[in-house]
């Protein structure tokens, strides 16, 4: 347990020192949301209609950007071999990295989302389900992203390949996250969508580390 906390601490300290990486993801999030009104036109009604989905897609893409170096950096400088030999099982190592990734990237995105939703003129009642959905969904994105990041360690053009691998797996999270907000805007309850998101999270927490650890072991052979 203390090894897990130590690893999370290490990752967070690294993220803080290289603060620009997390900040870049946040800036990308903001930029995508800014691009949309410029491309679609500033009509408030249209923007309000697309706001929940747009925030979700932008958050998804921002998380995707930050996953590239998650394990590749460790693979290059030899930390991955040390982690493999450590007391902590590789699956728990992945869990620690996913938690740290969420704390450093997902959580800031979550906190910035309401501000960007404001730019898109999102209706007031949509903020609650949006935040709740992102709270449940961003950890899923980190966990599923870990699987993809583990598989591409040492691959050529890993960044682009990662998008192709991980985006199909992200689609259910997007559908239910945006669906929760759409439900509220239609006057229905967001409960089924949020429960399904919670279900995806509950499944991802044990299963994603197993798959990612299998991928890391392949990288270390």
């Amino acid at each position: 347990m203390s090894a897990l906390i130590a690893l999370v601490g290490r990752e967070l300290r690294l993220a803080l020192r290289q603060g620009t990486d997390a900040a870049a993801a946040l800036a990308f999030f903001a930029l995508v949301v800014v691009l949309l009104p410029l491309g679609i036109g500033p009509e408030p009604g249209v923007l309000a209609r697309i706001a929940p989905g747009a925030v979700w897609v932008a958050a998804l893409l921002a998380v995707l950007l930050s996953l590239d170096r998650l394990f590749a950096a460790d693979g290059e400088d030899g930390s991955l071999d040390l982690l493999r030999l450590a007391d902590l099982p590789l699956e728990l190592t992945v869990l620690a990295k996913a938690l740290a990734h969420w704390l450093a990237t997902g959580l800031p995105l979550l906190l910035m989302a309401p501000l960007l939703a404001l730019f898109l003129n999102m209706p007031a009642e949509a903020y609650g389900p949006l935040m709740l959905g992102l709270l449940l969904g961003t950890p899923c994105l980190s966990l599923i992203g870990c699987v993809g990041a583990a598989l591409i360690v040492g691959a050529r053009r890993g960044g682009v390949l990662l998008s192709l691998l991980v985006l199909p797996l992200y689609i259910p999270v997007l559908i239910f996250g945006a669906g929760a907000v759409e439900a509220v805007l239609a006057g229905l309850t967001p409960r089924p969508h949020l429960l399904l998101l919670a279900g995806i999270l509950a499944a991802a927490v044990p299963l994603a580390p197993i798959a990612a650890a299998a991928g890391l072991r392949l990288a270390l052979e």
Binding site: V147, L151, I152, G154, A155, R156, R157, G158, L161, L164, L165, L167, P168, L169, I171, P172, I175, A211, A214, G215, L218, A219, E221
Partner: protein, 248 residues
């Protein structure tokens, strides 16, 4: 077959040379069967089966669309099984099977989506709709493409094959979603008519060409995969020979 008999057979067919001999034996039969089944199936589908009372002749697209859809799921399930066998038992041909099957599965999925779209325009009035069944099959198509990209992304072939095997197993969760999407969601796509607990809800005159086409597609899959695995084994031998020659 006893358990030791099963594992003996398992290990016997792990030998690539033996597989090549088996493939040489099976290929002519498999190819012939494909041709025969395709001819019979198409004759039944296009000529000897009734037109639908609502859709008239357009229903005949079903005889390509539905078997292609079945094949896209069947091929992925086989790939997942082979991936599991390759990861757990390190069977040398399992990963080659997965690599060989992927483009075939991707093509069947693309065929399913394309024929579905062509069928949807006259029937539903739209080329595409974002309902659960179509979306999940589109995701399956991207999973196939992702696998193919991942396997070719590594200089070390073994590494690529094993990483791909992990990816296939991660994506297998999509299969029950596709199958049950028409029951779990309100979809435009029609619910299951053949593989139901209550038995097929389709007339035997239409079920017959459907099943024959499905068998024809399966025979085609077997033929193409045998050819492709044979090519992979021979390509591997060629690379080894080139390396020996380069080493002097």
């Amino acid at each position: 077959m006893t358990m030791s008999g099963v594992s003996a057979a398992f290990h016997r067919f792990a030998n690539p040379g033996r597989f090549l001999r088996l493939a040489a034996l099976l290929l002519p039969w498999s190819a012939g069967l494909t041709a025969v089944l395709l001819a019979v199936g198409l004759w039944f589908a296009l000529a000897a089966s009734p037109a639908d009372y609502q859709q008239s002749e357009t229903v005949r697209i079903m005889y390509v669309h539905v078997p292609a859809a079945w094949m896209s799921l069947f091929v992925y399930a086989n790939m997942a099984l082979a991936a599991a066998v390759g990861l757990v038992w390190r069977h040398p041909l399992a990963d080659l099977f997965t690599k060989a099957a992927a483009p075939v599965g991707a093509t069947f999925t693309a065929l399913c989506l394309a024929t579905g779209s062509l069928w949807g325009k006259p029937m539903w009035g739209t080329w595409w709709v974002w309902d659960a069944r179509l979306t999940s099959v589109l995701i399956l198509f991207f999973l196939y493409l992702g696998y193919i990209a991942l396997v070719h992304a590594f200089d070390d072939e073994e590494r690529g094959l094993r990483a791909g095997a992990v990816l296939v197993l991660v994506g297998v969760v999509n299969l029950p979603i596709i199958k049950f999407s028409v029951e779990w969601w309100n979809t435009l796509h029609q619910p299951a008519s053949v593989m139901r607990l209550d038995g097929p809800a389709i007339h035997p005159d239409m079920l017959r060409p459907l099943l024959i086409m499905a068998l024809a597609f399966t025979a085609y899959f077997v033929t193409v995969v045998l050819l492709r695995v044979r090519s992979e084994i021979l390509a591997r031998r060629l690379r080894q020979l080139q390396q020996v020659q380069a080493a002097g």
